[in-house]
Symmetry: C2
Subunit: 601 residues, 2 copies
């Protein structure tokens, strides 16, 4: 029997016990749902993942897309998998019924998608980008644009992308040089080159809807002069049928270390007369609109990183339970039969670390999805605002923590398998390669750390920062009432107090000293904040588990709950103390990197 | 101009300033050498690396060896590169003149090989295993065996392997089932299966000399009944010509994530009558002999890991100096031209971290090579013994620290390049894949950590441990005399004192408590000891640099020396404090992993 893609018991723990998603069914939008319908969505996703994706995992990895100079070739199994997801109505499970969606809470959809994302890893990127593309057009496009571009995407006939990065600019979006000129009919013509466009060309759908950042001729330089355009691969006739080819050409494919289910392309727009383009919203507001999609994409990146870590954990756990090798140090009899490697304490350490990282990361992402639900459907406006404030604050952490620590989890999955982990007879080396993209795309870890420390923390007079800290302190209070958790609640409180001191110190320093120096340890700040956030989520998990054990100490789930408490202990003992070290670097404005002259390296 | 493979200035710093290899020329064995001859060896190695290896790096990676069911296919460029190394006499540069060698000190040879190993990464494995194979036979084989098997290997006509691991046993060598039966003529017949045999089959040489661990029929079970045999691919006639095929068959190739320059094979010995085999030394002493080769291989693994880190550092440094993107936080003018990314403090942090890891790791390996030289050629017996004791003690750290932290360095090289680092237009993603094998082969990090804590530390009444600590305390004393280094000398002293306290605590606990629990944090102990060792080597580097700066403050090398001092500061501020955290886990016998029942995971 193959290793489970993810642990169903764990997903149920998160959805029904920790985040109590059944309580969402009291909200009007979700009133037709109940645990049965949530479970049904998970069942369908699991079935598709097991039937279409798990069997082709290795084939997808070994057959990256190719470009013959004319078109892209993708193995047909990818289309079969995507078609199965589309046929099951899972393309946009959170969308309104009237748009063909299931109107599921985002957190429930994410639980179901866990199976698909973990098994299909990057090849589902075609659909998630399409979904995010639709959400942006729905938010900022005209009714005609929604009708023309969103509807066929929701139906799975068109796929969508986002096209931001340019060869000469990279993360420096203000330097982009793609430009647009307005035509008399109100449309635009776009010319320029874009790179790293995921899903930028393929034959998997009838059409591709690119959302392209460009500068209207004469607009301001820098980020304030950027506008957003819909630029389709094929023009669409007024009756909705696909018309002639637009000037969007594939310039080449990137050959990635992993994530080979999803093409990464260089695109050339408007090599002759300019590609026909339709302005979204108003001119010069493009970057603000794009952030809508980017924020969504950032949470998806974090979720994908967490799931790749989770599936690697399950695989290595399954392997460790069935692979006999060696004997315990305490074994007196060298002739006794070998034990399964899970009996070796160091192997258990590597598994427990993976559990702590991957389930901690996934808890963080589900919390983000819960906030996204509350932002839209919480009973009161102030609750909506509260959720929105925290989600906005937390986005750099939701993006980065799973992306940084998920690959470390996958690294340990390889190590558990030893030599077998390094070769392609097992998928753990692929997970390791796949997950390595996540600290890079949608804003590198360095960029996220500056976003957190320089923007999100002080934003709106520290509103998001304060609101989130209050949430964590509330858990400290409630955990104090469980005798077995008191010690850990106190530890979390101490690190939170230290976080506040560090935050004050660094922001105070920024008022008087060179900010390039003061903020040069921003990644340490992100590490510190991220680890405290994950510790908080582990304490919450341990609270739920402790309560369940108090209620029925000898249930079938006793082992499961013990595992949750044990992973919490691991995280508090082995990981949380690191936050003091990172905090010292930030607080003391350690300037080792800043002081290093480029010529000294 | 391509990025430098490694920094020539840095290699010269290590060889001539820090380890003062010119002083070795007073020893009889090296009396014909001088700086000129050392430099000449480096020049040759650099020239071959640049001509034969750098241009094919990516081709080797993209064309892993294939097996058509009959034979292995390897791209011809690999043989061309190996032939160039053989033709230059670099196959065994440390070997006696009369064996065709250059009689170079091992540390000098290692400096020269830096270029080759870094550029060719794993494809030089064919030669280094051959060299280690010869060294073993020279140490324990008969004169006839040396004549028959070593001479053609030294000439580059035959290549050698070591064949230990079996599918059912993995790292548990005591469980191996390959067996040997003695024939009337004194030869043996071997039957069994081996896996992970690097260079196990190919057409690169006339013959392949396998050193195979097997159990003579009737021998004791466990590690005490293991013998070592020479089992050639082709039998060799009495006149030295290659004769008929022996019963050694290629069962398959492993498809590795990286390191594709070197085949990894499954071999089947003696499928019919048994493979003809020649006993090395005495029966049942095989594992002891094999450790000779393994210890050498472990130091080579560490060195390879350090060099892959070094070359990734150089590549990303070169990229960062020439890639404009974004502006500094302090930049008031959004329309100013973008700066090269090395100007961003977080990019400098990633470069400085790489410098600290990779040059620290390489210093450790060169120290190991220096000890190996002293073990053989130090002026007095007691100096030889002293070097041997420390080398034996340090082997698990020399093997593991570069293997664990080298890949982390390569990870940062990818991050410096961003999306460009994740695709195969640049080699950094290959370095990352290549280096991931090193924490696994020749004994995993977990195994090394137990070797260090349970064997090497208490061995011979703590002789190696004490001797090495004394070396480090001596540096503390000498560094105290440099005013600018006093602070760091004190920090090193404090961590050394803590290391002693932790060591005493854990070994005391092992006398009364369950040793599986007491030693369950052995990897934290290895991390702690390793980081302190690297800090010591950085303090030594900073000492050399400080002295040089004191002597000629405004020399051409000022920047270089400042870089050394800065990397030392980075390591002491950002890395060394972690040893307290690891030490606490060990000292407090943190039992989170040990207590985790397998069913809880």
């Amino acid at each position: 029997m193959p290793a489970p893609i993810v642990s169903r018991r764990d997903i149920e723990f998160f959805l029904y016990e920790m985040f109590d998603i059944e309580s969402l069914t009291t909200r009007e939008r979700y009133q037709d749902h109940d645990r049965e319908s949530f479970d049904a969505a998970i069942d369908i996703a699991q079935a598709i993942a097991e039937k279409y994706y798990l069997p082709i995992q290795s084939k997808v990895d070994r057959n990256e897309p190719t470009f013959d100079g004319n078109k892209v070739h993708i193995i047909p199994e990818i289309k079969a998998g995507l078609d199965a997801v589309i046929a099951a109505g899972l393309t946009a499970p959170t969308t309104d019924y009237e748009m063909g969606g299931m109107q599921l809470p985002q957190i429930a959809a994410s639980g179901a998608f866990a199976y698909l994302s973990a098994a299909a890893s990057t090849s589902l990127g075609y659909l998630s980008l399409t979904h995010a593309n639709c959400n942006l057009i729905e938010a900022y496009g005209s009714p005609e644009q929604i009708e023309k571009w969103v509807t066929p995407q929701r139906e799975g006939r068109f796929f969508g992308t986002m096209a931001m990065t340019e060869p000469g600019a990279g993360s420096g979006l203000g330097d982009l040089t793609t430009f647009a000129t307005k035509e008399e009919d109100g449309t635009y013509r776009v010319k320029g080159n874009k790179i790293w466009i995921s899903g930028g060309d393929h034959d998997l759908s009838e059409n591709i809807v690119h959302l392209v950042l460009a500068r209207v001729k004469g607009a301001a330089r820098g980020v304030k002069g950027i506008s957003l355009f819909i630029v389709p691969k094929f023009l669409v006739n007024n009756d909705g049928t696909v018309g002639q080819r637009n000037e969007v050409a594939l310039a080449g494919l990137f050959h990635k270390m992993g994530g080979r289910g999803h093409t990464s392309t260089a695109l050339s727009f408007g090599e002759q007369d300019g590609a026909v383009a339709y302005l979204v919203g108003e001119e010069n507001k493009g970057l603000m609109y794009m952030f809508h999609m980017m924020n969504e994409a950032r949470i998806l990146v974090g979720t994908g990183a967490a799931l790749t870590a989770l599936t690697g954990f399950q695989y290595s756990l399954d392997y460790a339970k069935g692979r006999p090798q060696g004997r315990l140090l305490s074994s007196k009899d060298p002739l006794a039969p070998p034990v399964n490697i899970i009996e070796h304490p160091d192997v258990r350490r590597m598994l427990l670390t993976q559990k702590a990282y991957s389930e901690g990361a996934y808890a963080l992402c589900l919390y983000g999805h819960q906030l996204a639900d509350d932002e839209k459907t919480a009973p009161t406006e102030s609750e909506k605002k509260h959720a929105s404030t925290i989600l906005n604050f937390l986005t750099p952490i939701i993006k980065s923590w799973p992306s940084e620590w998920g690959p470390k989890s996958n690294d340990l999955a390889i190590q558990v398998l030893g030599g077998h982990g390094y070769v392609n007879e097992h998928p753990v080396e692929m997970f390791y390669r796949d997950n390595r993209l996540n600290p890079i795309h949608e804003g590198t870890t360095g960029i996220q750390s500056l976003d957190l420390l320089c923007r999100k923390v002080p934003m709106n007079d520290f509103k998001g920062y304060q609101a989130f800290l209050t949430e964590m302190y509330d858990t400290v209070d409630s955990a104090q009432s469980h005798e077995k958790l008191q010690l850990y609640a106190q530890q979390l409180k101490d690190t939170l107090d230290n976080l506040k001191a560090v935050t004050t110190a660094v922001l105070d320093a920024s008022k008087t000293q060179n900010i390039d120096m003061v903020f040069s340890n921003s990644v340490s700040y992100l590490n510190m904040f991220g680890h405290i956030t994950i510790a908080w989520l582990w304490l919450r998990q341990a609270e739920v588990a402790s309560k369940a054990l108090d209620k029925t100490p000898h249930s079938d789930d006793e082992k499961f709950y013990n595992g949750k408490i044990q992973a919490m202990k691991y995280f508090f003992n082995s990981e949380l103390p690191l936050t003091y070290h990172w905090g010292n670097l930030v607080k003391n404005i350690d300037s080792a990197s800043f002081d290093t002259h480029p010529d000294w390296l």
